[in-house]
Amino acid sequence: MKNKGIYQFQSSEEKEAKEYTLSVLTENKAGLLNHITIIFNRRKLNIDSLNVSTTEVKGVSRFTIVVQSNKEKIIKILNQINKLIDVLGAFLYKKDEIYYQEIALYKLSTKIFLKGDIVEKIVRKNGAKILIIEKEHTIIQKTGSKSETQKLYNELEKFGSILEFVRSGRVAVSKSKRKTQNFIKDLEKIKSNKLNI
């Protein structure tokens, strides 16, 4: 968190790799994506997924980044991101601290639907929906966690005809009560622009 104190390390349990979601609020500035990814690159950390979108506040963007890392490493990265001039605030979440979703699209040959209703049953059972049916191909859409979209992928793959598959980056909102608007208002009030002596 920008200017909101320093993370302290507790114990060696923090060396263990876990999935973390970073939510980064930034000014809408060209090149910032590059600046953020450079920080991961320097520490040889692969980004599992990345999503950039506008927020409810005009001119403010949100980066949602998912990585596998230990806490020590990810906090150092978080601090480096927070240090970037155009970053308003970076927040770190474990899985249980956010509501999150990804969306996956599966392009299948329409032929496999003609052989019986088994594929349709799989789609329904997985809570996915058929988006488009064309003569040549059919598009299935599934929203959920990565493991859920992967499960559907694995089941469909048995029919051997996934023509194309794509999964979006994660989007997440935190479970905290904070409002982005208020966070930015508070940030503007902090008197840390000059030395107080």
Binding site: K2, N3, Q8, G31, Q80, I85, K194, N196, I197
Partner: protein
Amino acid sequence: MMKKITGSESIMEVLVREGVKIIFGYPGGAIMPIYDALHGYSKKITHILTRHEQGAIHAAQGFSRVSGKVGVCLATSGPGATNLITGLADAQIDSTPLVCITGQVPSHLLGTDAFQESDVIGISMPVTKWNHQITNAKEIPEIMSKAFYIAKSGRPGPVLIDITKDAQFEKISFEYKKCNKIRSYHPYPILNKNSIIKASEIINKSKKPLILVGQGVLLSNAENELIQLSEKTGIPMASTLLGLSAISCNHKNYVGYLGMHGNYGPNVKTNEADLLIAIGMRFDDRVTGDTSRYGINAKVIHIEIDQSEINKIIKTDVAINADAKEALVNLLPLLKSNNYKKWINEFKKCDKIEFNKVTKKELNHKGKGIKMSEVIHLISDITKGESIIVTDVGQHQMITSRYYKFSKPKSNVTSGGLGTMGFALPASMGAKLGQPNREVIAIIGDGGIQMTIQELGTISQFDIGVKIIILNNSFLGMVRQWQELFFENRYSFTEMKNPNFQKIAEGYGIKNKKVEIKSKLKNSIKEFLDYKKAYLLEIVVEKEENVFPMVTSGDSVSNIRLE
């Protein structure tokens, strides 16, 4: 209606309003409009034409390091801009405030591989505190004022502003407002009073505390507060390479310099101390050695303005995320008067060991040849430690840091974090222009000087009175030392066939001399220091000297070697 001026003239107006009187640079196609505007501002702004853009940026660094002001340099697009990269990386890692302005191809040609086009914003991103490309002259006042504010506030650093040629020509109504706030940037963290209280409790209870002085003390002008703190509490102070000169080497509580080639006492005692008070330093690996065997008995209080440095290398017990001066001012009243005579005496014992095993042999040897350490020792004596010393990178740098007894703040200019050979000669020019009334002595190896030797041309043209010493051992000495110690004497490409440095200096019209024997050393140095203009003194030193003490890379500071 307000008179319109060009983007280039706007840049000049910004420089004047920001109090910039001297800039360093090199012209070229894409920055010609700015150079044209500069021509009309020559009464207000002095421009130093270096011989290479790397020279310009190192000069700007040297200027900033001794004056505390923002260093400014200009370069053209493409190769001009890429030649700045080493200096940007150097300034970034050593926290030097710079504003670098680069020209860029006209905006309609961006991304087309136009002549002398390079993606300067992309290339400089990892080595700048901030960068921005201006394609529209209207942006100039706001972006430039942000550039100066960002460069000098908080933990300082280099900012690069890339301006397309069309924006330099474009006319605007110029209005300037100095930036003093950016909502996403908080350079001076609000001091947490609880951390100050907690720190004071630990300090007041400590038995063997040690202050680690970093460059942050110099950057925040906290030299006096530091001395007050040390004198009130009696706590000994040791300095990092970049912290050198923050406190006089003659201060009774000063116990020496830290790190790989630092003094014996402060290194060994780091592992006996029960408290390390780190002020404006970042636990570089050259200071800590093996971090798992560093400060093993010590609690750590880290006073640091950059939150990303806290807990980065060494876990802290109390983090004070604040400007060094502000932290010290608040800490002082809470500290008890104390003295640590016994503890300081332990450092003195170490000094004796170091003197007997290292220093004595260096300074009182019987040979006819000259050792680097006796040169520095002499210069230190004659100048009373009052000169500005600019060093390059290598053995001579470590020797200078050990033997020059700095007595005035902001007197040590060296490339610490990046270790840039070729830094010293151009940096010394900037330092002299930043402090024209002080003696500036550049101490450089025979390898390093040849990396930026072309800047002798700048020194000559602008009559910059720097004193240049080449410590010539015809080797890349530090690499050779490692080859001797860790690579079984396999001297792989470290021996140098050097040019005749006298003739080079002569070619540039710079007074010069060469000394090869010890008996002539003292008088030559006196003559060199008495001369009022630039002077190049080549001193031939022993070929295969080793620098000791030494903490082997990756070893513990406790295992510092004396021979």
